[in-house]
Structures are given as structure tokens and as C-alpha cells.
Amino acid sequence: MAVAEHPQSIEEQRRWEGDLDQLRGLVSERAITGETMLLNMGPHHPSTHGVLRLLLELDGEQIVSCLPDIGFLHTGIEKSIEDKSYEKALPLTDRMDYLSPMSNNMAYAAAVEKLLDLDVPERGQIIRVVCLELARCASHLVWLGTHAIDMGAMSVLLYAFRERERILGMFEMLSGQRMMSSYIRPGGVWRDVPDDFLPTIKQFLNDFPYKVDDYEALLTKNPIWKDRAQGVGVIEPDVALAYGMTGPALRGSGVNWDLRKAQPYSGYETYDFNVPLGEHGDVYDRYLIRIQEFRESMKILNQAVARLETVSGPFRSRNNKYCPPLRSELGQSMEAVIHHFKLWTYGYDAPDDEVYNAIESPRGEIGCYIHGTGANKPRRVHFKTPSFIHISALPVVSKGYLLADMVAIIGSVDIVLGDCDR
């Protein structure tokens, strides 16, 4: 097999590393003269949670300035969606924020529903809430494990992933895939929950609160953890708002803004839950908030599972112009076959209009903007993703802290590079 030439000449290396002159104006003059040190962190670094590159300017161990360099995972998903019909674009959205694909599905599906003026039946909405909250737990579990491992607590990852496997098992039960489920679709969900799903999730809801107690026993009062987390990476509420931060990073600063309460969707207004808020806005508060969100998600899940047992009916819209007919109808109804064929070849026309719809993902507000053309493909799809915004706030959040705190700060705002770069 032919392998590309060794790209190691000095000129070639400079081409992608950049020149010191290019940094003039971005870093302080002290860095140009060599008084402070420029340190390149990433894109290959175990604690940048992916392929984020940070150019840090250090005075001793203290961070003077920080330049995030993104785009190492730019996949062109938004551009690719312009090439696909609305239903077929859905699997691409899974792969943006790969820690909570269900939230991406939901943001996209809800935006398409808004564009088409399509209603979701009640059972479909309940199944969606179950999926979204399970996804929130799964995503926070990865965050917990990796954040702890970044700060030197190795064992938490093993506990967190043990429970995550159970959630992924439930996703597999629903959709046939562990991670990239493409389960939430415009008009409802792909199919009804299987029979063995309810006993499994009940068992999980029974066990999980005790597992959260275990995580707290490992970390919450751990003096090393507190030393690393308390008073580090403080985000003032006005800074958080000015940068447009959302999710636990914003609520850690004490700002009460959760789209599940502020702009309820999928019937969240009918569930009883609290929005945990922090006081200091530091890494420790953001940790506490996510831990409490586990418990709040459990509350929502318990209510949703109870409703799932009583509410029957269709799990997706029966409007067959936009949603495929049931599999069982295909053998009996010619009309169903025609709809099925039309949907999976051409798709459907959406109005020449623009919509924006946002939901609360585990990381914050993920919004989807769709501009239809009147035909079966969108003119433009854009996602407003929390990770991008949180990375843009890293320079102001990290200023003045130590180099070792940078790792804690990156972990605490919980970024996913696929979410940022798309």
C-alpha cells in the first residue's frame, strides 16, 4: 500500500503549527519577546476531551491567556444535511454530540415538526422524555468518569461506565444500537418500547440512586477533590450570560435557566422536578449540579415510566404524509405501501420557511435552525451547540488560574468536540 511521504520538513511543519508573527495581537507582547512561555496543549492530549487544541500563554504556572483552536473534528455535517431529505438527515445528527445522540435527534426532530406543523401523540412524547433523561444520565456518567480521571481519581470511571453500560443496553433494546440510536424521529419515535423494556428500566431506577450515592461517597467530601475543585474556574453570572453559556455551566453560577422549565417541550411542564442551582460558579458547584441532575432525572423517569404504563395509543403521528405507516399495515393496505415507498425514496416537501427550535441537552441549549425550500431538502440547517459557546468562554474563565486547573475547567464545562465542530 502506498503511504504518503513523510511530512516532516521544517516548512511543512510550520504550515500547520503557525508562526510566532501570526500570533501578534492574540497573545501579549511578553510572549513575543519570550518573557512568558507559550505552551501547546492538544490536539492530542488526554484531558482536552477530544481534539481541542489550546495555545496557552504561561507566566510560570499561571495562565495569562488561552487561545482555543477548534475545527479538528469539523465534519461538515450541516453541509451534508443540505444534500439529504429530512428523514435521511437524522442519522447525521446523532454523530454531533456523540455523548447524547438522543438530544440531537430531539432538537432536529422537533425543529422539523415545527416546520411541518406536525403533532406528536402523547405516548410518543412520554417515550421521548424517557430517552432524553436516560441520555442525560449516560452523558453525565461519561462526564463524571472522565472529569474525575482528569483530576486524578482513577476509579470513578470504572463505576460510572458500569452504569452507563446498562443505559446503553436499554438504548439497544429500543433502537438496536448502543450509541447512535436515531430513535427519536420527526413525528414521534421509531417504534414502541419492547415488552422487556419496562422491567429493565424499573430495575435500573431502583438501583441507580444508590450508585449515585456511591459516586458521591468517592468524591463529594474527598479533601483532594475539594482542593482541586473549590474556588477554581469561577464563572461570574454576568460573564456566563454575556457569553451565552447554558446548561449546568450557567446554572452553576446561580442563573435559573433551564429550557425544560423556561420553554417546555415534549410535555416537560407536566413533570415535577427541580432545577438545581449553584452559588459560587466554580468547578465544584458544577460537579454538584450534575450530581443533583442525576437525582432530578430519576424523578422525571419515575413519573414518565408510570405514565408509560397507563397511556396507550400511537407512538408516532399517524399522518402518513410525513411519518411511515406501521409495518403491520404494509401487508394489507395498498395506500400504506404507497406512503412507505414515497417516504423512503423522495421524502416529503417542507414549506419554504425558517424555524428555530431549542432543547435542553445535558450540556446546555442545543438549537436547530432549519430553512426549508418548499421541496424535500433543506436550504440550510444550522445547529447552535453548547460546546462551541463554552469553548469560546474558556479564555476568560481560565485567566489567572494554574495550568493544572485548566484541565479541571475544561472538564467542568463539559465540552464535546463533535458538538463544537460538527
Binding site: 503511504v3 492530542h44 455535517i77 461506565f161
Partner: protein, 160 residues
């Protein structure tokens, strides 16, 4: 290994250099602590409690390429990331192996567009390809065991 069972009481094992070296190479193959995208999360799942890669001598991920034997390219490789991964590969010491994990790393996957390199083998040589989007941890384990088979079949003549 040869007549070892008969001579076990004497504390002597007979084998060939090839077999002994290949046994050592497969028994403690340290992967580079490196992840690109979604597949990296399944890779982490394989490392964690349920699948436990340490059963295959791989619990130790090295964050520096100088100490790593195996590069698992887990995820989509963008054009911006391509020079980085080539440099990481060049910095790894021989002998080194590469597993291309997932559809994106193997052939570009669903992304046939301007941003994605259509397969990591355009940049570095690959030993084992794993299909899946993302592959399950079992598939990754199977890929690793396939690589072990490949390494075990290497001959002295190939080492030069």
C-alpha cells in the same frame, strides 16, 4: 510450547525466538491514549469495567506516542487533524501497529464530503480494519485479537 510440558519439573522451557518475542509483543501491547470522535467513547467503554481490555494486557494507555505500540484510530479523521495523526504515527517507536476503528476511519463512513479524509489508510498504513458506526466493544476486542493473530504469525525475516 514444544516439550515444555515434559520438562516442566526441570524449570526449562524450549521455544523459538520468534514465538517468545511474538508472545511478549501480543501480551502487553500498549495503545496510545488517543481518541477522535464517537468511536473513542466505545473505546473507553472497552477499557472500562464491563469489557476490560486489561484481560489482553492493554490496560495501560500511554499518552505519549514514544511509549505506545498500537495506534487505534477511533473516529472520523478530518483534513485538519490528518497531519497531527501522521506525526503521532511517526513518533511511535518500532514495532508499531495501527487499528482503524469504525467506518469513518476505515473509509470515510457516511461523510463523503470536503472535510473528512476518506480512510486513515491514505495517511498511515493500517493493520486491522473494524467496521461499525461505532463498532461495539466486542468488535473492537475481535479486531485486537485479529491483530494478535497477525503479530503472532510474523517471522524473524520480517523484523529487519
Amino acid at each position: 510450547m514444544g516439550v515444555s510440558s515434559k520438562l516442566g519439573n526441570l524449570g526449562i522451557v524450549t521455544t523459538t525466538v520468534e514465538q517468545a518475542v511474538n508472545h511478549a509483543r501480543t501480551g502487553a501491547m500498549w495503545p496510545l491514549l488517543f481518541g477522535l470522535a464517537c468511536c473513542a467513547i466505545e473505546y473507553m467503554s472497552s477499557q472500562a469495567s464491563s469489557y476490560d481490555l486489561s484481560r489482553f494486557g492493554m490496560e495501560l494507555n500511554r499518552a505519549t506516542p514514544r511509549q505506545a505500540d498500537l495506534l487505534i484510530v477511533s473516529g472520523r479523521l478530518t483534513r485538519k487533524m490528518a497531519p497531527v495523526i501522521r506525526q503521532l504515527y511517526d513518533q511511535m517507536a518500532e514495532p508499531k501497529w495501527v487499528i482503524s476503528m469504525g467506518d469513518c476511519a476505515s473509509c470515510g463512513g457516511v461523510y463523503n464530503n470536503y472535510a473528512i479524509v476518506q480512510g486513515v489508510d491514505e495517511i498511515i498504513p493500517v493493520d486491522v480494519y473494524i467496521a461499525g458506526c461505532p463498532p461495539r466493544p466486542e468488535q473492537l476486542l475481535h479486531g485486537i485479537l485479529t491483530l494478535h493473530e497477525k503479530v503472532k504469525s510474523e517471522r524473524i525475516a520480517d523484523w529487519a
